[in-house]
């Protein structure tokens, strides 16, 4: 099945926008995004293991989680939930944190919003991440590829082939 996927970057405004269609009703997609037992199954990319330490999905609540990498890498993150409209949208911040869940201000932070829309039996989401400045965006991208376990070798390989 071909599911809609769109990824755009607005470098001027430091925004990454992702749209995706899912072959499931809105309620299921919403649950998969907002319940720890499901998030732990998909948020971390291949080879990594995501584990929720604590989570309160409510306005003012947050999810504190750890990510374990294939080579013993470990980092902690916090997702805050600042505003929630049940089964419609929510927004908050993505933060790097320590093992107690204290946000680490030296690391990139970003603000996200996600909107859910039902269309027949399918659900569309639009996830928008805004970074405070380009440096943070670049830093986050490096974290992103660490987080996502995108192979550093193939990445550098590409860079080197180009240069």
């Amino acid at each position: 099945m071909n599911l809609f996927f769109d990824f755009t970057i607005d470098k001027e405004n430091q925004i990454i926008r992702v749209k995706r269609e899912f072959a499931a009703p809105l309620k299921l997609v919403w649950d998969a995004w907002t319940q720890a037992k499901y998030l732990d199954q998909w948020w971390a990319a291949q080879g990594w293991k995501g584990q929720t330490i604590s989570m309160e999905f409510k306005e003012g609540g947050r999810r504190h989680y750890r990510m374990d990498g294939p080579q013993g890498e470990l980092f902690y993150g916090v997702t805050s939930y600042d505003k929630i409209n049940l089964h419609q949208d929510y927004e908050g911040k993505e933060l790097f944190a320590d093992k107690e869940g204290n946000a680490d201000s030296d690391y990139p932070q970003s603000v996200y919003t996600i909107v859910f829309q039902s269309q027949k039996e399918h659900t569309f989401i639009e996830h928008v991440t805004t970074y405070p400045d380009m440096e943070q965006l670049q830093a986050a991208i490096k974290y992103g590829f660490k987080d996502g376990c995108i192979n550093a070798y193939s990445l550098l390989d590409e860079l080197l082939v180009k240069s």
Binding site: L28, I150, L159
Partner: protein, 108 residues
């Protein structure tokens, strides 16, 4: 010289990768970098030397101290980094498809 092999060796080490990640956020001197690791200071200096030799990191003298920064020439192509971000989302969403499938099967 095989620069390529050097770069691979440079990033094969997890500590050196971690240093690159640190420097992605901001330029730092050797002491500030070392403070993030349990390794002895000379070990970190050695790592910085290797990273500098293969031009992933550039020393930037600021008065009496030396700040280390990512070498913009090696990392200048932001679009390639962004492409990695797209891959990350693609992978995540493929996994989410699977989770949703399992959820649907459980319900029926």
């Amino acid at each position: 010289m095989n620069l390529r092999r050097d770069v691979f060796q440079a990033i094969a080490d997890p500590t050196r990768r971690a240093i690159l990640v640190l420097l992605a956020a901001q330029s730092m001197n050797a002491g500030a970098i070392a403070a993030n690791f349990d390794s002895a200071r000379p070990t970190i200096s050695k790592h910085l030397q290797i990273l500098t030799e293969c031009e992933l990191v550039k020393p930037d003298p600021q008065g009496r101290e030396i700040l280390y920064q990512l070498n913009a020439l090696k990392f200048k192509d932001v679009d390639q980094w962004l492409e990695q971000f797209r891959k990350l989302w693609e992978i995540r969403f493929d996994q989410l498809d699977q989770v949703l499938n399992n959820m649907k099967n459980k319900k029926s």
